[in-house]
């Protein structure tokens, strides 16, 4: 999705969602506007005239347009090296074409099965555990009566989101690592020290726990916004019919935010092959590749470190294509069940 390469797993989907919402909202307006415009005859001279009139707007658009062309569309175009045997010495245009052989290589690469397995397990654990925690926390925050206490709690739970992964993992290392707080506590009570941070068996749950700790608070932003947008008359009607707090939660609040939950889930499913790079990369050395190598780190190793540009570009391209297909499929499935979905 909006992979700003900073590995902000849960915000990514929230951001994409809100933007989607605004785009789809606009689409209807624009459609009617352009229909009206096309009725006018002789649009060519007027077009040129209005372009000249708006020259300052084009000037203002220019830096941004150049940025997006250079750092989004040029790299996207560069994906054609996935079909080449790219060599920096020969360059983009003289490197030989090899068809789909890079893609065929992916499936015969000896460690790729492990990489794929790790990626899928971590993503599924995150969807199963990290994703619902945000919803629960939103409901809890929403149930607080005191607005001040609610704001205080929000300012606390948002905090870790603004720390980079290097800081977060350094802190976790200090609490759960070999020389950390937990072990001082265990030794103090006469137990045997354990090192959670370097045990390959703990790695996947640990990664999910870290995501929960860092991003749950931030993920409530979008749910809380959705809850605050619910119609209060529905609550009143439910209360009149004798529905207690829990029943109102179940029959009014949750159905009210269901479409948002499903949208975020669709986006998350599209992202299933992305686990976030930094968090995994920073802890991979401590537990070994067998437990911790995921597609994003695999691509980095093969491409940036080893210089297999075409092969790693093929892996990354395949990942993008599968992600798009997954979004498409999940959206279709959601529609089949009568949900709004991500796009129409």
């Amino acid at each position: 999705m909006i992979e700003k390469l900073t590995g902000r797993a849960s915000t990514k989907s929230a951001e994409a969602l809100s933007t989607m919402a605004s785009v789809t909202g606009e689409r209807t307006n624009k459609g009617s506007a352009s229909a009206a415009a096309s009725k006018k005859p002789g649009s060519r001279p007027t077009l040129w005239r209005s372009m000249v009139r708006e020259r300052w707007v084009y000037l203002l658009l220019l830096p941004g347009l150049l940025y997006f062309l250079a750092f989004y569309y040029l790299p996207l175009l560069g994906n054609f090296i996935a079909f080449q045997d790219y060599s920096p010495y020969l360059g983009f245009f003289r490197s030989p074409w090899v068809g789909l052989s890079n893609f065929a290589q992916i499936f015969t690469a000896p460690d790729f099965a492990t990489v794929l397995e790790n990626t899928l397990i971590i993503s599924l654990l995150q969807i199963l555990f990290a994703f619902p925690v945000g919803i629960v926390l939103s409901l809890m925050l929403n149930a607080l009566i005191s607005e001040r206490f609610k704001r205080f709690m929000q300012s606390i739970v948002y905090l870790p989101h603004f720390m980079g992964w290097v800081i977060i993992i350094s802190i976790w290392q200090q609490v759960f690592g070999g020389d950390g707080f937990l072990n001082h506590l265990i030794i103090g009570m006469g137990g045997h020290p354990i090192n959670i941070m370097s045990n390959p068996d703990f790695f996947k749950p640990l990664v999910v726990l870290q995501v929960i700790w860092k991003e749950t608070g931030w993920s409530t932003v979008i749910f809380l916004a959705a809850i605050s947008g619910l119609d209060s008359s529905q609550y009143e009607a439910a209360a009149m019919d004798g529905a207690g707090r829990w029943r109102r939660l179940w029959h009014v609040t949750l159905p009210g935010i269901r479409s948002i939950i499903i949208l975020l889930l669709i986006l998350r499913i599209g992202n299933i092959l992305s686990t976030g790079f930094e968090q995994i990369f920073l802890q991979r050395d401590a537990v070994g590749l067998r437990a911790a190598d995921v597609i994003d780190t695999f691509v980095y190793d093969r491409g940036i470190v080893n210089g297999s540009w075409s092969f790693s570009a093929a892996v990354a391209l395949l990942k993008t294509v599968i992600g798009a297909l997954l979004i498409f499929t999940a959206n279709k499935a959601a529609k089949k069940f009568g949900e709004e979905g991500l796009y129409s």
């Binding site: 707007v57 009566i145 206490f149 870790p160 350094s170 790079f277």
Partner: protein
Amino acid sequence: MMPWEKPSIAGQSILYLAMLLIAVVVVFPFLYVIAVSFSGFKDVASGNLFFFPLHPTLEAYRWLLQGGAVVQALGISLFVTVAGTAVSLFITVTMAYGLSRKHIPGGKFVLWLVMLTLLITPSLITKYLVVRQFGMIDTLWALIIPSAVSPFNLIVMRQFFMSIPNELIESAKLDGANDVQILWGIILPLSKAALAAIGLFYAVAIWNSFFEALIYLNNSQLYPISVVLRLFVLQGTQPADATTAGQVAPPDLTVQMAVVVLATVPILLVYPFLQKHFTKGVLTGSIKG
């Protein structure tokens, strides 16, 4: 909660208790790290480390701040953050204004180009090759330019500009002002809160950025604090000029934690402002549509 209902005492107390527990789980690790960074050698050796240092000392900070890799990295991070935020804001604001104007031929197409980047992102491999082609490898530009604009921030900024009454712009145009003058003289003064919020988001993201430095920089002289933090704390490398002036170095652990604190403090300093703008709804406004 209906207005006429009394809150259930038991329910609210359980909720408050749960909330306080969550607050402790979030805040404790930060406090612990700060405490360790201020602890003396004896307490570290004997494991007497709690929420607060038993015998507070500035040893680790004094040692770190006398110069060397950490100070240099902090300086680089500060420079990149300030310069990068300026560049990011410039491109974001100009483009957001352009996209907020209606009936611009081609404007819809450009907006569509931006929206598409929310869904399809280039892979790190091809982006790296483009950055290398531009000759930015091993320059600080690599930390500033390639990830300058967040499409999300751009869209939020555009939404904000669109909420400014069009009459202001039209009447300025009648007075003969062009769009650059309007943006500078009318729009920006009205958008201070949004500028501050988005600027802070950019600044924090750039300060934290690790990935860009990892892939685009080989020269250790250019490392920002995030990379140095990884070297010292996660990889256990000692500062290259560790034994300057024949001083006895404070224990590794306190020095490491002091580096963590130094990397975190700038974020904590701006966090209240970030939080203020955030709760004001500058950014959530667009979520609610």
